[in-house]
Symmetry: C2
Subunit: 328 residues, 2 copies
Amino acid sequence: MIVDCHGHYTTAPQALWDWREAQVAGKKPDAPRISDDEIRESIEKNQLKLQKDRGYDITFFSPRAGSMEHHVGDARISAEWSRVCNELIHRVCTLYPASFAPVCQLPQSPGVEPAACIAELERCVEEMGFIACNLNPDPSGGYWKDKPLTDRWWYPLYEKLVELDVPAMVHVSSSCNPAFHFTGAHYINADTTAFMQFLTSDLFRDFPTLKFVIPHGGGAVPYHWGRYRGIAQDLKRPPLTELLLKNVFFDTCVYHQAGIDLLLKVIPADNILFASEMVGAVRGIDPETGHYYDDTKRYIDNSSLSAADKEKIFSRNARRVYTRWKPA
Amino acid sequence: MIVDCHGHYTTAPQALWDWREAQVAGKKPDAPRISDDEIRESIEKNQLKLQKDRGYDITFFSPRAGSMEHHVGDARISAEWSRVCNELIHRVCTLYPASFAPVCQLPQSPGVEPAACIAELERCVEEMGFIACNLNPDPSGGYWKDKPLTDRWWYPLYEKLVELDVPAMVHVSSSCNPAFHFTGAHYINADTTAFMQFLTSDLFRDFPTLKFVIPHGGGAVPYHWGRYRGIAQDLKRPPLTELLLKNVFFDTCVYHQAGIDLLLKVIPADNILFASEMVGAVRGIDPETGHYYDDTKRYIDNSSLSAADKEKIFSRNARRVYTRWKPA
């Protein structure tokens, strides 16, 4: 079984984006009108087709990350938008329960306590069967004005994540800072930043069962694994395996063979979760291979990893990390 | 010949740091008093010893990056501090002309036009024989408030760099943003960010001979080389080799064999410059190898690269990029 733990509803019907535009313009629109047929059309021609073409079985599916836009409007705007997006994800997963499992967006807002997200998290998990959430380490959208993920500011939300046994993918949204291209810089930087925050803290002593997935292959971390091992050593921290690897997992959204080979070489197979993020940041076909850049299964298939380790990455680890996921 | 293009004077005598403290406290101190013997002591026990132990011949040597602190004080403070630091580098390189070649810090300041750095750059290059400079893409120290490196805001400085034929290493300083650990997150993020700024702009059409060195192995870029090739393709940009690789070079400050192997595999040898950044971000010995993490020459020696490509990385490319450097 092939489980893609990282997919966003980037192809949602236009009515969703129109609703968002009206909301941000202050027009207080009624709930977006989207028929089941429109959802089917948007999914069957895109994610579901690609799943079949590529041999992926199921995608853990969340609202478009770039559109979470926690920096736009206030907490009320964010709460409303999160509810709309999460309910649409719920509909997709109800229509295709074997192919998609729901992951929610949180109604974060810059400077607002993360505890304010608990109600929506509970609603999604307990009432609609969501299995995980995306957690934005920078609700300010590229200015990094909120506290590090290791600050007690976040603890009430972590207590709820632990209680519900729900993992969080650390995922920023779009950048309103002109310094950062969103998918090319902000996403990757955020992954690296979160890892380094974890490295310098005792967060996982306080929350031994809290689980984070760092997407995009862990940002720069595996490439600089020696740097991180060395910095931890200089700081008199425990070895990374002991300090972090019971709680932190990396996905495989790395879009070339050499990158995946590095990831598989330096990070233990127990800490890697298969993912492609399709349809996402890179949509073209690599002229060097003739295949989609983001068809990451090919790179893992082509790697020299053992069959047992491949199975861990493709599905076994997902069962362990996403404990609320019950294959249909 | 082994040329380390990236070293900072992290071991400068205490009088320098005392002077800085007094300066920041508004005490208007006289020039720091540092004897030649103090300089010799600080260099011979550290960088010079390590050069000899490791078989490096020369280091391109600049003030401590984390201490540039462009975000501290105003433009006048930054100008004064840059002059003090650069003059000390000049003294080191005058004492050891065969072992160190000087690279200057620029007197940047948040919100101040980069053109204000031209006088100090000219003084360093024309009067003191400096061969390159470090350029901070985020003088705000982790809040990224200044314009991207591709904005015309920077053009007067680039015109001078081109006129003097001096390359710039893109290097941030310390972070005053608690989200970012400086050597573990801010440095690496800045490298990735700068590359992505270059990718989305036509800067090198305007400055076909401008040369940037992106340190720390290019941040996350080589690990995500497929992502960057794919994003460029989606954005209808030219292939990266054509768009950037006449102007952008990566150093080898990657502190483990697997990371260096990836770098050497995906980036053309013509675009890689040997560097270790010693004595720098990681100072310990890797228990997995028994050698210093930052003894990067070992990783390149151990790689499967051809002797001709190794020679490019160790010295030939440095001669081409740092044209003002004349080996003693």
